[in-house]
Amino acid sequence: MEEMKATPLRAHHESLKALMAPFGGWLMPIQYAGIIAEHKWCREQAALFDICHMGEFLFQGDIVADGLEDVFTFSVQGIPVGRSRYGFLLNAAGGVIDDLIVFRLAEDRVMIVVNAATIANDFAVIRSRLKEGANFTDVSDQTAKLDLQGPLSREVLVGLFGAEIGTIPFFKFITTKILGVDAIVSRTGYTGELGYEIFLPADKVCELWELLLKDPRVAPAGLGSRDLLRLEVGYSLYGSDLDESTTPLAAGLSSFVNLSKEFVGKDALVKEQQAGPARVKVAFRVSSRRAPRHHYEIFQDGAPVGSVTSGAFSPMLGCGIGLGYLKPEAAALGTKLVIKHERVEMEAEVVELPFYAGGSLRS
């Protein structure tokens, strides 16, 4: 068995008595005070997440000539410097190898941020699609990432690091000095709240973690609350809601796919678009506090129509919510569903995303 990896903050989590568990090959903090308390803190204050497990790649060179332009479902050349874009790395069948964010650091310099469990494969796949000898490196081990998310995150960071951070619009970033070293502060996140992702050298992350936690508005939050926060705003989780057998069209994420450019998987997506996807991702709301969970079966009028890929009790809505893939005929808004697993049974209804739209994301 492969050895479990840990972030530079492992001892800090343990000293905070975090519940630690494996996630994507990493030993990660799932909760500190409790998942619901941390969820609430993020919706009301500023929650600090150790996201050092995620991967970062650097590309330096000519985006078009070196082949990077055709790697993802969106144009890299079209991203203005200082902006980032979300999209996909696909296989030839249009299946999602990973969902990722590309940061345009300079005309000829790009950072790609990928999921933890997929780092090695993503790197190999992207490398294989670039021109021989292209300058492309995996800097995951040297690069740390902390997310500060919540309505108070901006004032916390401005207070510590200056006013410029307060001017960053949604999906833009700045390169700046934090604790005397080069860092990237990006107005992105996975919670539906105003928030920032901070990238800095791994050997500085403990110092930044300690500094942020000194602020009474900041509390640590684990991957348990992160999963709940992202589900309430309808973001997909790679490995649950997206995988290599799922296309962005089936997942309802075609707005992150540019079919007017070339990329691996495009032909399959064009065909799928013409034929219509065999199954589609839907969002559903449960009529009680019961939580749908991964792999629970979904029925319509007694017939199986799909299964749950993500689900939870939503503290903001006070009921169960979930995502799943259904036959298209069962996917219309308002469709009544029954979700079952062993003795557990719940009624649900297909609804629009996001489940929760009251966050401070764009404030």
Binding site: I35, I36, L228, R289, R290, A291, R293, F313, R343
Partner: protein, 124 residues
């Protein structure tokens, strides 16, 4: 009144033939934030160790097994809107239901407080 525990971490406290049932503090802690309690139907008749109720937390959905045989005569309906009571007070205000116990001799198959504490040590 003594409290007895099952290996599945339910507790029972008996007053006459009335048995109050809940889950242990250890179980509530292990489950994490509890978000839903499926209370049993009034009048439901169960055998010892049969499924009595259900409980869901941010982490998992689990069954609650009956520590004794009997008939459900009362449920803690506060848990419908405030399942977090089980986290706050698993062995008191967070009780699940009361049974009319059929056979108090069944308590002999359960652990007392000291035995349950030993049992938990063995699980660590």
């Amino acid at each position: 009144m003594s409290m007895y525990f099952t290996k599945e971490h339910e507790w029972v406290k008996v007053d006459g033939n009335q048995a109050t049932v809940g889950i242990s503090e250890h179980a509530a802690h292990e489950l994490g934030d509890i978000t839903f309690v499926e209370l049993p139907q009034m009048g439901k008749v169960v055998k010892q160790f049969d499924t009595l109720a259900g409980i869901e937390s941010v982490k998992a959905a689990s069954d609650i097994y009956s520590p004794v045989s009997g008939k459900v005569i009362q449920v803690n309906d506060k848990l419908e809107d405030a399942p977090e009571l089980v986290n706050e007070s698993a062995q008191d205000a967070g009780w699940i239901c009361k049974l009319e116990a059929a056979d108090l001799a069944e308590l002999g198959a359960l652990m007392d407080v000291a035995a349950y504490a030993e049992y938990l040590k063995g699980l660590e």
